[in-house]
């Protein structure tokens, strides 16, 4: 009995005239998105390699260890084919220098604003918008339509339990919508293989999880469509309700989430942060100058009562030691300032993250948000991508600085006198000690991409997948419950 009803539901969907048109449109869009994604990935990969080589040449032209700077590049991940996420919003490289804060710059959008228009044409977008619409189009009248048609009375003149009927509706619709949509998805995966997109086992696991999550998302909308169709008498009413819900869930709530999040993000502005850092640095240096003055006064005091010639020789005797001492203190001050500023950045980053999470949690009342967040996490194009890179680049900067400082010492580029004016950028250039014809770059540490394990990608999706499951079960339960009381005439 159940099977018969499921078969009927399936046939009903597949034989309906709207099915072929919708199915072909969906298939086309899925394949298009994956095609564009593959193309974009290879483009970015090419740019990445070119830029990396260019940076190598630039480094080779450096004349001193002090002036040496590196660039850390963000390597494109093939998962961006499925979900671009923040991939195009955040910068693709950062300059790494001892005395310069590292920041990702030159995002795809900043280079090529027209690209922003196409940002949503990724697989995740197609699923979010088109799959949900597809589900609604085929379920809005699944229950009340049978009442309107008059077939419901005939069906229920037979010994059919209502629970069997509504469950079969769900299973039949599910099979009738999910299986056809899996076809273009599988063809899309074939494209990945044909175009030799470099995919590791971890990538495949993520892809399979992403597809399962897409199916879950589609399942939610099927259940939701059935629910609305089972609480309304007329299909025109259920269609209106579903259309409004669809717009709200797919477009409005996720955007409200992002908007709220970006509101929070703008609270501590970059300018505020910079001025805070500046004023600390200024105060610290002033304090330092005061102390240095005292030190020099003390040094002068030591020479009280000496003859001019004695003074001269005493000075010459101690000059180098004094400079060394000053240099050491100066370095400590610089270190203190750097630490303070990175702590400040960290604080702001954490605060941002907390608020961002809050806003995102609010938006999770819509499964469309949950789906997008899960897809971004699985595709490692999530909102933490920037932080991961900046953290890794920060670490690299430390390694890099330690290395260049060591090299500076070795090559005798002390030149402490010049480094007094170190806090201005041009000063760095002037202080470049003595000329060296070329540097041996072989030992320069290399930037490694931040590691992101499968579990790091999967764990954050658990809450979103859980929420989608909850909403799906809730919708189905609601449909089940309300159909039990449904007026069958």
């Amino acid at each position: 009995m159940f099977r018969l009803l499921v078969e009927k539901e399936l046939k009903n969907i597949i034989q309906s005239p709207k099915f072929l048109a919708t199915f072909l449109t969906c298939s086309f869009l899925i394949l298009l998105s994956i095609g564009i994604g593959i193309n974009e990935y290879f483009n970015m990969m090419e740019q990445y390699n070119t830029a990396k080589n260019l940076a190598k040449t630039e480094m080779a032209q450096a004349r001193s260890w002090m002036a040496l700077s590196a660039k850390a590049f963000r390597e494109p991940d093939p998962m961006q084919i499925f979900s671009a996420g923040v991939n195009y919003d955040i910068g693709r490289y950062s300059i790494v220098h001892e005395r310069q804060d590292s920041k990702l710059q030159n995002s795809v959008y900043s280079d090529d604003p027209i690209f922003a228009v196409f940002r949503y044409m990724d697989f995740t977008f197609i699923v979010t918008v088109v799959f949900s619409l597809f589900a609604i189009l085929f379920t809005y009248n699944t229950v009340n339509g049978e009442r309107e048609n008059g077939t419901m009375r005939l069906v229920f003149s037979n010994a059919i339990p209502r629970s069997t009927f509504i469950s079969a509706k769900f299973v039949g619709s599910w099979l009738g919508l999910v299986i056809p949509l899996l076809v273009p998805i599988l063809v899309g995966l074939l494209l990945l293989v044909v175009f030799k997109v470099p995919l590791s086992a971890a990538h495949w696991i993520k892809i399979i999880m992403l597809i399962s999550t897409s199916v879950l998302y589609l399942t939610f909308f099927i259940a939701f469509g059935i629910l609305i169709s089972a609480v309304t008498k007329y299909s025109s009413v259920s269609f209106m309700i579903l259309l409004v819900s669809w717009i709200t869930l797919v477009f409005i709530i996720p955007r409200i989430g992002v908007m709220t999040a970006s509101q929070f993000i703008s609270v501590p502005t970059v300018a505020e942060l910079e001025s805070q850092k500046d004023s600390f640095s200024k105060a610290r240096w002033e304090k330092h100058y005061g102390e240095i003055e005292k030190v020099w006064r003390a040094r002068n005091a030591e020479m009280n009562g000496m003859s001019e010639a004695d003074r001269q020789s005493y000075r010459e005797e101690n000059e180098y030691k004094w400079f060394e001492e000053d240099d050491k203190v100066r370095n400590e001050v610089q270190k203190e300032i750097t630490e303070y500023s990175s702590k400040l950045s960290d604080d702001v980053r954490n605060r941002k993250a907390t608020l961002e999470n809050l806003a995102l949690n609010i938006s999770r009342i819509s499964p469309a948000s949950s789906f997008q967040l899960a897809a971004m996490n699985l595709s490692t194009s999530d909102i933490n991508l920037k932080n991961r890179y900046e953290k890794e680049i920060q670490n690299f900067r430390q390694t890099f600085s330690t290395f260049t400082q060591k090299k500076q010492k070795e090559s005798g580029g002390q030149a402490g006198m010049f480094r007094i004016s170190i806090d201005s950028q041009s000063g760095v250039k002037i202080s470049s000690g003595r000329d060296e014809s070329s540097l041996n770059l072989r030992e320069v540490p290399k930037f490694t991409q931040p590691s992101h394990t499968i579990s790091q990608a999967v764990v954050p999706t658990i809450i979103d997948i859980g929420l989608m499951m909850f909403f799906t079960l809730f919708s189905f339960g609601g449909a089940f419950f309300s159909f039990n009381k449904y007026d069958l005439r």
């Binding site: 009803l5 046939k11 009903n12 048609n149 009375r153 005939l154 229920f156 037979n158 010994a159 069958l488």
Partner: protein, 253 residues
């Protein structure tokens, strides 16, 4: 099912007992209605629009619950054991509606299986469709192009295929052309001879008199007259109908 043919059952196959239905809006659609349909009998319900005929049938099918009283199919109280009761009944509505995207054969196949008959072939379906008068070339056409009469024939075919001991017909001949109407009456006669118990509502007084074993007239939810074929032999049913409908007379059935 053949046992039905052999031994006639003592209790009525279809029965309404003190059946009362008050809709949510307070309308008393059925007021203490009682009748019985025995095996191999046809009971015709007459009555004007809004008399309560469809309401009665809906209660038999458990599509709505009675306010008080009960309906029984094969002795089973429908609102208490609806699934058990519905195994023994088939139904043709006044406006048969089937799945528009399915062909006549597909619709027949679905509803016959739903009715519990899983061993029938396409040939069986075709045979029954021909028996109810649906031309061969329409069998494989989608239902969405069917006229009301064609749909009605499919509905009757489904009821025949289910082969249940009782059949509920709500104005089954509405929409049938005169020839089809006549054929349908013959068909009902055959079904009764097979031992089916048939409850039908109709506006066709003459056909009712011709075929029914018992006739009941309903007015405003009350069964105002109920007579057997023999009792009506020499009466002018039309005159009686008009008189009862006008409320001149009332007799407790």
């Amino acid at each position: 099912m053949n046992t039905i043919l052999n031994e006639k059952k003592e209790f009525p196959m279809l029965e309404a007992v003190n059946l009362t239905k008050k809709y949510e809006d307070g309308l008393l659609a059925l007021d203490d209605v009682n009748f019985k349909v025995h095996q191999g009998e046809i009971y015709a319900m007459l009555g004007g629009n809004g008399a309560g005929k469809t309401t009665t049938i809906n209660i038999f099918l458990n599509l709505i619950e009675p306010t008080s009283g009960e309906t029984k199919i094969n002795g089973i109280v429908t609102h208490q054991q609806p699934l058990e009761a519905k195994k023994h009944v088939s139904f043709v509505s006044e406006n048969v509606m089937l799945y528009p995207e399915f062909t006549a054969l597909q619709n027949l196949d679905f509803f016959t299986r739903l009715g519990g008959k899983t061993n029938l072939t396409k040939d069986d379906y075709r045979q029954v469709l021909l028996r109810v008068g649906l031309q061969e070339d329409a069998h494989s056409k989608k239902l969405k192009g069917f006229s009301k009469g064609m749909r009605q024939k499919c509905g009757i075919a489904i009821a025949i295929l289910k082969n249940s001991p009782t059949i509920l017909l709500d104005e089954p001949t509405s929409g049938l052309d005169p020839k089809a109407g006549l054929e349908f009456m013959t068909l009902l006669d055959e079904l009764r001879d097979e031992g089916k118990s048939i409850l039908m509502s109709t506006h066709d007084i003459f056909r009712a008199k011709e075929i029914a074993n018992t006739i009941g007239i309903m007015n405003n939810g009350k069964l105002v007259m109920q007579r057997s074929k023999a009792e009506l032999e020499n009466a002018d049913l039309e005159k009686l109908y008009v008189e009862y409908m006008a409320g001149y007379m009332e007799e407790v059935a």
